[in-house]
């Protein structure tokens, strides 16, 4: 496996808490030449990632990782607000587990930000004006929508990922999102963890394309997201 190209100056000349060695290891995961090429080309386009008109997710695997990064930004921002502005009647148990979920989403967000390095899109501006954070039903209803959407997004994105290592990383995250979804759904309605609204007669969960997911997520994101270069 030739990875020397991926350790060039453009990838290492960036700040952050991860050592160059760790970064190198991550990009080594990009796999063969194709993966490296995609990272490098994405790096060249870095200046175009964040424009005044919005963000461009980019192409190839980097584009999909940025897509995931965008969704994790949304989820992390949401749960951060849920915990800092708790709904009426929240129980100590709910605080504990919703705080866990917040911390998972923050870990996902920071992971993608660090892993993508200079290829990462910038911080998105969220718009939660439609959510009543004082209302349990509003907060948990939104949480359910976000978690089910996250599961469907990762399930639908798997086929668009070239690198088996990135596919595995997406797999490591999607099952955690599914755990969140199950917990939130059970909080709202007992035993709805895998309801027939999300699991079909073949026992399959939902999968959605990036375009479908972003159309829904866009309701809560002010920043314009250009996903036109994502793999299809």
């Amino acid at each position: 496996m030739k990875t020397q190209n991926a350790t060039g100056p453009s990838l290492l000349a960036e700040e952050g808490t991860v050592s160059n060695l760790s970064r190198r290891r991550f990009f080594k995961l990009a796999g063969g030449v194709a993966g490296v090429g995609m990272i490098l080309s994405a790096c060249h386009k870095d200046n175009n990632n964040n424009t005044s008109a919005g963000v461009n997710l980019g192409s190839g695997d980097i584009g999909i990782l940025n897509y995931a990064y965008a969704l994790e930004q949304l989820e992390a921002a949401f749960y951060t607000h849920v915990i800092s502005s708790q709904y009426t009647g929240i129980t100590s148990d709910e605080i504990a587990l919703l705080t866990d979920i917040r911390d998972h989403e923050v870990a996902h967000r920071e992971f993608f930000k660090t892993a993508l390095g200079t290829s990462a899109i910038g911080a998105l501006t969220v718009n939660f004006s439609s959510i009543d954070f004082s209302s349990r039903a509003s907060v948990l209803g939104t949480a359910k929508a976000f978690e089910d959407l996250g599961v469907a997004a990762y399930n639908g994105a798997g086929r668009l990922i070239k690198s088996p290592d990135y596919l595995l990383l997406a797999g490591k995250i999607v099952s955690v999102e599914a755990r969140h979804a199950a917990y939130i759904r059970d909080l709202l309605t007992g035993n709805s963890f895998a309801g027939s609204d999300v699991i079909n007669n073949d026992g399959l969960d939902v999968e959605k394309s990036p375009a479908t997911v972003l159309a829904t997520a866009g309701t809560y994101i002010s920043t314009k997201i250009d996903a036109s270069n994502l793999p299809k």
Binding site: T17, V18, L21, S22, R23, R24, R25, F26, F27, K28, L29, T80, I83, L97, D100, R102, D103, H104, V106, A107, H108, E110, F111, T114, A115, V151, Y154, N155, G156, G158, R159, P164, D165, L167, L168, L169, G171, K172, I173, V174, S175, V176, E177, A178, R179, H180, A181, A182, Y183, D186, G190, N191, F193, A194, I199, D202, G203, L204, D205, E207
Partner: protein
Amino acid sequence: MDLKFIIDEIQKADPEVYEKLSPRREILKSFGAKVAVAALPLALGSMFKKAYGKVTDVVLDTLNFALELEYIEFNFYHQYNLVSGLIAGGDAAAFATIEAHELAHVNFLRKAIQASGGTVYTPTHYSGGDPVTGSPISPASYDFTAGGTFADIASNYATFLAVSQTFEDTGVRAYKGQAANLQSNLDVLTDALQIHSVEARHAAHVRNIRRLAGATANKPWITGNTAPAAPAQGSYNGEDNTTQGGVVITTLSGVSGNVSTNAATEAFDEPLTKDQIVTIVTPFIRP
């Protein structure tokens, strides 16, 4: 069933579908409601296999491996859902749902393997008849006490829950570990991912039942490598990993300070290899 509609839909994603399905192209375009519905699945199966003939042995082996695991899970729930007084009343509906999903997975995988031209797996001691259409209930195949390790599983709900949680968490790890083996067939990969997240939903629910029943540290997500019972440790080893893609998660910024070790392990589920899974499930399979 409107075949032309289906193929036209596919054409939106793959403009060359008609060419790929050639030389039956003209026949296809003339397909309409007149074609016998019963003949369609067969015709479809063979045409699509020719057009998208990427169902490799690796994919078929992986599907059969998944089927083997789904058989275990289905038979587990089927057997114990029938034991009077074992499952708490409030949980009966949930375990009925889970059993139904595992049955759906068995049936889905059987058909997928058959449609792809593979030899459909049957469990040892299977007596259900046809591997695809026969009954998937196969009590002679399994020993859910694992040779006495979980001797009171039929009478002690806590034991049942511990094994259930382990099966679900193990299933999640198994599918995760096989994803890369399915990349040569993206439709199959997507199907497998859609099963994978269902297993994770099951796992979260069972884990929460145990948490509310007193195992307070047992959250819907996996913290560290904590197992519900010592003999199940193999299903949790490695879940305490905190390095992802070369990034040490505990060095990343959290809400206050860095991401904690617990959060770092909970936020990412870990895969297991086929060999590791086989080692885990073998005690439950009668030789």
